[in-house]
Every structure is written in C-alpha cells, then in structure tokens.
Amino acid sequence: MIEVKGLTKRYGAKAAVDNISFTVKEGEILGFLGPNGAGKSTTMNIITGYSSSTEGEVTVGGTEIFENPIAVKKMIGYLPEHPPLYLEMTVKEYLSFMYDLKKVKVSGVSKQKHIEEICGHVRIDDVYGRLTKNLSKGYRQRVGLAQALLGNPGVLVLDEPTVGLDPKQIIEIRNLIKGLGKKHTIILSSHILPEVQATCERVVVINNGKIIADDTPDNLSRAMSTDHKLTIRVDGPEDDVQKLLLKIPGMLRVDKLGVREESAYDFSMEAEPGADIRREAFKRLAERSWAILGLKSSELSLEDIFLQLTDESNKKSYIQSTEDPGADGEAADEAEQ
C-alpha cells in the first residue's frame, strides 16, 4: 500500500532523513519508532505531501506522491503531532469545513450522517457543538483523528497520537487505533514504546534519520534478548551466594539486586555467550542447601531494545546479526555509514 524508497530530506548539510526505505502492506499497522528529532515527523510530512523530499520516492496505492499529489492526498488521512484545529470553530463547523476541503464523497451517505458516524466512532458526540478551543487535550486529539477519518481514507498517518494524554485517554486512543487497523493501513509514529508494542504489528526504528531496525516487536525482542543473562532469587547469605555463583565456569559477572522477600536475594548473572549456567548454578546452590526461589532469563522489553538500538555501539551488532549481508547488504551498509 505504501512504498518508501531511498527517501532523503536534507536541511542544508544536515540530513533529517537519510536514504530510508520501507513498505507497509494493506491493513498493516506500522509503528514508526524513534527518539525526538530522529526524523519520524519529517518522514510522515513527506508521505502526506506536506513537505517534499530531497531525494527518493513515496508511492501510495501505486501512485507516486510527487507525480500526482492530489490523488495521493485523497487516499491519506493525516493527524499531525499538533492536531490542526481552528480554535474559533465548533467541532461541527471544523469537521464540516474539513469535509468540504477534502472534497469527501461517500456514496449513499450524506455529509451530516458521515460526520456524525465518525464523531460517534471517536466518541466526540458530546462536544459536537462546542468550540474546539474549549476542549481538553484528549478531545482535541480525537477531533484531529476525526478529521483524518473523514472520507474513510485507505491510509492513516498518525504522528504521536497519544502525546500529552492521560493514561485513560491513551488506552482509549490505542484501542481506537487498533480498531481502525482492521479497515485502514496505518503508520503510527511514537517515542512512547508501550504504545507501539500495544498497537503495532511491525516496528520500524529510526534514529538520526536512518532506519536501524524493521521487524515485529516479538522478533526484535527475540533477536536482541540474550539467553546468557539470567536473574536468580536465592534463599541464602547474599555475599556467599554471590561468591559461589561467580565461581561457575563461564560466569562473567554477578550483580546484587537486593532483597525481594525475607532472607532471599536477587542476583543478575551474565555468562559468556553460549554458556548455559543454569544446571551448574542449581547444582552448586543445592550442595549448600540454598534454595533457588526463582530463575528467569532477562527478557528485553521494547524499551530495552529501543535503548540498545539507538545506542550507536549496539546498533551495528543488531543489524549485522539479523541481516544477511549476502542477500541484502543495504542494512549492513547503512550501519557502516
């Protein structure tokens, strides 16, 4: 549905977006993840036709945006980071204006009915007659989302849709987006990781204008998690347990995590890659009658992955370990740059 190829946007000598390429399939919810200033909004602005690229092309539904911007814009509903609301208008006036501006025509449905349907969908019926300047942040965001939904566009581009909302509103908007994903192709940008984890089927991580990962949240987690990092809870004297664990062959480090329950201490252990220390730890602790109350591998949350990926030193290792340089050297090349 969306194909971004070799997209570059330069501001003077600085490349805000540097030769990025990705595709989004029809009906997919793609999470566009990156720290502030990574190039997310710039990419979205180019996809929606708000700004132009220095190089590269964006194709939406088979149409290139720079060749036929009006046709592409008809296919896209865009919610920018700051909902573009006219504060002196009521919600009704604003949506009516946006309906006319977008030249929306929904067969068999009148303008009034279409707007009311969308208002019901995003739950803004109760503020329909109110001035947008008097609305809370959450409602403004919903009105912004409502204007993006006008005309039922095939593609929704949502730039940080939950920023500034309270936790309840965040959950509501997330559920709404999930629901929309059944009928729309969605690109959602965020630097809030649980949001992407909760709503997106695929994640593109961007940093310093370059894509540094493109996978499902689960695959990313799997690829970056390490089976040689474990957390253990032992019922025994803290210092002695640490010393004992450190003597296990292949063990690199054991850190105290403190007491979690009475007379039991948690430790994080890191062994050499490939070394399975679980059996040896069990055996040695059992010899001393220090009971293991818990043992788990240190799974990485998307937050950990994000921090690792956006850390320059780890970026290369992920790309090199997950990409086959022989089949597609692009990602590896990117990491080398």
Binding site: S52, Y78, H82, L87, E88, F97, M98
Partner: protein
C-alpha cells in the same frame, strides 16, 4: 476553493478583525461623505474616494495579516497543505475571502450614491469609475499583503510589512519627481498606484490601468503560491 473562502469569511467575523475593518471603513467613509458631499451640498463623490484611498492603504494590512501567518503559527497549514487541493486554489480562496470583506466595506459608497440620488442626479459613471478603481487598488494591496503574510508566522510583521509597502507605493508618486534621470522618472511613474488610480477617479475606465492592477494581483498571487511551494522544499 469555496471551502477556503467560507472558512476565511467565518474567521474574519468570528474574531474582531472583520468588524473592526468594517467599522473603521464605515466611520471614515461616512465622515468624508458628510464633509465633502453633504456639508458642501455637492453631488461629486470622487473626493470621498480620493480620501478613502489613504484609509484603504492603512486598513488592508488588517485584512491580510492573518491570511497565512495564522495558519503557519498554529500549524493549521498542515490541514490545508495535506488536503487534496492545489496550492493555487488555497491561495485564491484566501485572496477572494479578503476581497469579499473589502467589497463589503467599500459597497457603502454605493449607498452614498443612492443618498445623493435622493437629492439630485449623481454622476453614476464617476461613482462606478471610482468604485472600480478602489476595488482594483484594494485587490492589488490585498495580494501584496497576502504575499507578505505567507512569508512570516508573525501577524504583526505581516501587518507592518504590508503597511510599509502600501506607504511606499503611495510615496512613489512623489519620488518620481525627485529624479532627473528620465529612466528613473519613467520607472517610478510606471509603478505608481496613485497615477493609475487617478484616471478612474475622473470617471474614465482606463483599460491599461485595470490591466496594471490585475497584473499586480496575478504576480503576487503567483508569488504567494511559490512561497508556499518553497516552504515545502525548505
């Protein structure tokens, strides 16, 4: 374009700007009508128009200052520029909305013509000639003000810039006499709005002057479109 015109008209009258513009326009035109026509017991309204010329130069920046600056500042331009409409439609929509408010203001002069007609037969050719002149001049100044507004997100800068240009255009007439070089004199006389306006005020429809004012509109509308386009590429 119709949606843009409707919205812009709504914006003028949901804020004090539209009312202030009309009120000031009506007060000054009423004063000049009273002083130059009713007090003097004359049927010649052209003096009213001559005086309105200066008022228009002061007032038009109020109309144009928000046209693009407000959208840029509040980022509502994202809604406009990602909508499936051409930049030309967007610019023309804003331009015609400002022109409509201006016409609403200056249409009071027709009422003055009717008032004069109650007492004596006015020279309608003169009134319509002046009306056309003021309209063309106003449209030109609106296009210039809109262009300046498209370059800044600060409405004060947009208003002061438009006013400065309007004032400069007013002074150009006097400047042309200050040069001895025939080329410079010709140049300043050529771009003088006042000189073009003067022909109309005597009731003569000067085709070349009309083309001049319409050309100014076309050039600045084009430049506004290019400014918007350039912002995309910046």
């Amino acid at each position: 374009m119709a949606a843009i015109i409707r919205r812009e008209l709504g914006a003028y009258f949901s804020s004090p700007i539209g009312y202030i513009f009309l009120a000031v326009f009506y007060v000054f035109s009423g004063f000049y009508f009273f002083a130059n026509v009713l007090m003097m017991q004359s049927t010649d309204i052209s003096l009213v128009f001559s005086n309105l010329l200066v008022i228009v130069m002061f007032l038009i920046p109020i109309l144009t200052m928000r046209l693009f600056s407000e959208d840029i500042k509040h980022k509502t331009d994202q809604a406009l520029l990602t909508a499936p409409i051409s930049l030309t439609s967007l610019v023309l929509g804003k331009f015609f909305a400002a022109v409509l408010v201006f016409v609403l203001g200056m249409s009071i002069t027709i009422v003055y013509g009717v008032v004069v007609a109650v007492f004596a037969a006015p020279n309608w050719a003169l009134i319509w000639g002046n009306f056309a002149a003021l309209l063309l001049l106003g449209m030109s100044l609106i296009s210039i003000g809109m262009f300046i507004s498209s370059m800044t997100e600060n409405q004060v800068i947009a208003a002061v810039g438009a006013f400065a240009v309007a004032l400069a255009l007013l002074l150009v007439e006097g400047l042309s006499g200050a040069f001895t070089s025939p080329a410079l004199m010709k140049f300043f006389a050529g771009i003088s709005f006042m000189r073009r306006y003067a022909g109309f005020s005597s009731g003569i429809f000067e085709f070349s002057a009309a083309i001049f004012f319409l050309s100014v509109c076309a050039v600045f509308i084009f430049l506004t479109v290019r400014t918007q386009e350039k912002r995309r590429w910046a």
